[in-house]
């Protein structure tokens, strides 16, 4: 029984990526290959990133007798990554699971249901831990000869450590579930909370070199603080570096005792948690005068409401808008950024505005709001198909959503560039028009790609937003659409034509492509839409 439950959990995880699609077999294979490459790329990036980090701190720390601190830092990095990576999954698996009613109607002990879910979460934590601890030990082995005892203790710690972040994420997942269920504006809360976490993450990433320097210069005082205040981390390091079995025992206690308490508490309350009525505050309707809109405006309004009510949609497809705004604000607040750049690279002075345009286009290319928008109709597709509206109006409403969200930020960033850098009238026009046209191109292209690769049989919105073929193709295409012109100019045309002329050609090309795509959506796209589903 338990085996069947665990198999079901693993199948659900697999299906969230490879859920059967209406594509031909060859297309499914291509999709799997694409996902495979993407996973490999992500894994290699993580291993390289953490490998570089540990390489920079390993020698100075271990040589100075602070080998334990090196392993402690590896442990805290792993705990943080496991926690951040799994807290929302923990919430979804333990507190928002859709199949609790079905499972509890079967003769399955509730403890088994909980155990199968916890086991899945533990497996996910091991994956995250792998990306940190494996580079850490490999770097250590390359620089210093690790003994068999050290390796064995490290392996034991590898097995124990994820219990700590799992306990933390269960507690935070529960807190998140309790808080978000009691809030009226749940999606706003989740988006806001996630943006704060991402803000901290990016701030940390920008400062990482400074922190690294500080860590290398002050590791003795930092080590002292860890030893005094975060004893489990100290014991994690000491167990490996000193081959200290007592430290391993302390770590064992620190990992197992809180986890057991948390598991017992969850197990005791599982039926209550699983059957709890979601605490949505009931709002009684009060009659109000209704606002009348045209069908086109109503379709756009509907798209905006879907977008604003789905945090996963906002956070995954429109994060670039935040980056564009930060870029614009930075240009306005720190007015000397362009001068600093010119001082650093004086040979690039004539191309400064070109570089700024390329940056805005690149940031805009990270938004792909329209790419999953057709798939998101899911089983509600019948509504739009039964309405007396042309399919092209539906499709263009989805492109307009992308434009409405992205264009104001793009124009703002263009204006910031115009204020920050001295430009000719022609350059000002290009700075305003090219990023805006590129954004329109992305909006229309996203809809067309989704029209070709729709996925309506999803069981969770996240599947189409994060893992569908249309979003994958859109992301890569947008990046290529930014990179190719830059590479063509830098390597082929820089000595042939001026940057102004090249930008004008780009504007012309993107403009023509926009017109062609608009025409496609108005004609053939509408027909394709009527055959969907």
């Amino acid at each position: 029984m338990l085996k069947a439950l665990i198999t079901t959990r693993l199948c659900s995880l697999y299906n969230s990526v490879f859920y059967k699609t209406p594509f031909k077999k060859s297309r499914n294979i291509a999709f799997r290959i694409f996902i495979g490459f993407f996973v490999l790329y992500a894994a290699a990036s993580f291993l390289f990133m953490f490998g570089s980090f540990f390489y920079s701190i390993c020698k100075p720390m271990v040589s100075s007798g602070f080998a334990w601190l090196y392993f402690s830092i590896a442990a805290i990095t792993a705990i943080t990554l496991c926690f951040v990576g799994s807290v929302f999954l923990t919430k979804a698996q333990l507190f928002d699971a859709q199949d609790n009613d079905l499972l509890m109607s079967m003769p399955i002990p509730p403890g088994y249901i909980l155990f199968s879910r916890i086991l899945l979460l533990l497996a996910v934590n091991y994956v995250f831990e792998f990306f940190v601890l494996v580079p850490a030990i490999v770097v250590y082995c390359i620089n210093f000869r690790a003994t068999a005892g050290e390796i064995v203790i490290f392996a034991a710690e590898f097995l124990l450590l994820p219990l700590i972040p799992l306990t933390l994420s269960c507690i935070f997942g529960w807190l998140l579930a309790v808080i978000s269920e009691r809030l009226r504006y749940k999606s706003f809360f989740i988006t806001f909370f996630s943006l704060i976490i991402l803000g901290f993450y990016f701030y940390f990433m920008f400062q990482v070199n400074r922190y690294l320097q500080s860590l290398i210069q002050n590791f003795s005082s930092i080590g002292e603080k860890i030893r005094n205040y975060v004893s489990p981390l100290y014991h994690f390091g000491a167990a490996v570096s000193d081959k200290n079995v007592l430290s391993l025992a302390v770590l064992l206690l620190c990992a197992i005792v809180p986890f057991t308490v948390m598991y017992a508490a969850l197990s005791h309350n599982f039926i209550r948690i699983a059957t709890a009525k979601k605490g949505i505050t009931r709002v009684r309707y009060r009659e109000q005068p209704m606002k009348v809109s045209s069908p086109g405006a109503a379709l756009l309004k509907k798209e905006l409401l879907r977008f604003s009510s789905t945090p996963v949609y906002i956070l995954n497809t429109a994060l670039g808008v935040a980056f564009i705004l930060v870029f614009a604000a930075a240009l306005i607040i720190y007015r000397d950024i362009p001068d600093m750049f010119i001082n650093e690279f004086p040979q690039l002075t004539p191309y400064l505005y070109t570089i700024l345009i390329a940056i805005i286009c690149f940031l805009s290319s990270t938004n792909f709001i329209s790419a999953p928008s057709i798939s998101l109709e899911g089983k509600s597709l019948w509504i739009l198909q039964s309405f007396p509206v042309d399919g092209s109006d539906v499709l263009l409403a989805k492109a307009k959503l992308h434009m409405v969200i992205c264009l104001p930020a793009v124009i703002l960033a263009s204006l910031a560039c115009i204020i920050a850098v001295e430009m000719s009238l022609f350059q000002i026009l290009l700075t305003l028009l090219l990023p805006a046209t590129f954004t329109v191109f992305c909006a229309l292209f996203g809809v067309i790609i989704n029209l070709q690769f729709p996925k309506f049989d999803w069981i969770n919105e996240t599947v189409v937003i994060k893992q569908s073929l249309s979003t994958g193709i859109a992301m890569l295409s947008f990046m290529a659409a930014t990179a190719i012109p830059v590479l063509v100019y830098v390597f082929l045309l820089i000595k042939v034509i001026s940057s102004e002329l090249f930008m004008l050609i780009c504007l012309f090309v993107y403009g023509i492509l926009c017109l062609l795509m608009y025409r496609y959506l108005r004609t053939k796209g509408s027909a394709v839409f009527s055959f969907l589903g």
Binding site: Y285, K379, Q385, S386, S530
Partner: protein
Amino acid sequence: MLKIENLTKKYGNKTAVDNLSLHIKKGMIFGFIGHNGAGKTTTIKCCCGILQFDAGEIYIDGTSIKEDPLGCKRKIAYIPDNPYLYEFLTGIKYLNFVADIFYVAKSEREERIKKYADLFELTDDLAQPISAYSRGMKQKLAIISALVHDPKLVIMDEPFVGLDPKASHHLKNIMREICNNGGAIFFSTHVLEVAEKLCDEVAIIKNGKLVISGTMEEVRGNDSLEDIFLELEGE
């Protein structure tokens, strides 16, 4: 009001609807009966312009759905078997959205929404997100949204599933009211007692082909509709 002529719809090699012809006149409640997978939902979706068909013609009030799909869709309302609605909208926002799409004037939409929401006892819940609705509440909302533009023809797929007895009763009255005002109803059902009491005409479909159609008296004679259905199904 609705004329289906030699309708054929295939899914790959499988013929879901095979040369089906039906005529639903104004003022008529027309029941569409058949076993699971007989082709009822496919026929209904073709009539609503949701599915494209391979052969035949469908006329809504004399207009071909192939030639003027938008014109036809303006005259009809569709209630599906599973009311998958926009869960992110509140009930009232969904109704207002539908009214916008059908160009329903402000006063008319307010009046109709109030009338039907009160009738189906959904008024208090209109500010709730649809995701918080029960299956029955979603079905009621789908019915209200179908009625908000005062359609001439209402096409329904298993409309009574999920409705409580009171709401079912109100729906039956509304169906009769639409027909009395010159409209028509075309609906599928598995509840043969409902079809027997409510319908002016019925059609029975088996494996995509029309088996029998006509007035209730013509179809059942002296037997019950259930006996006829089981006999035709070969039980």
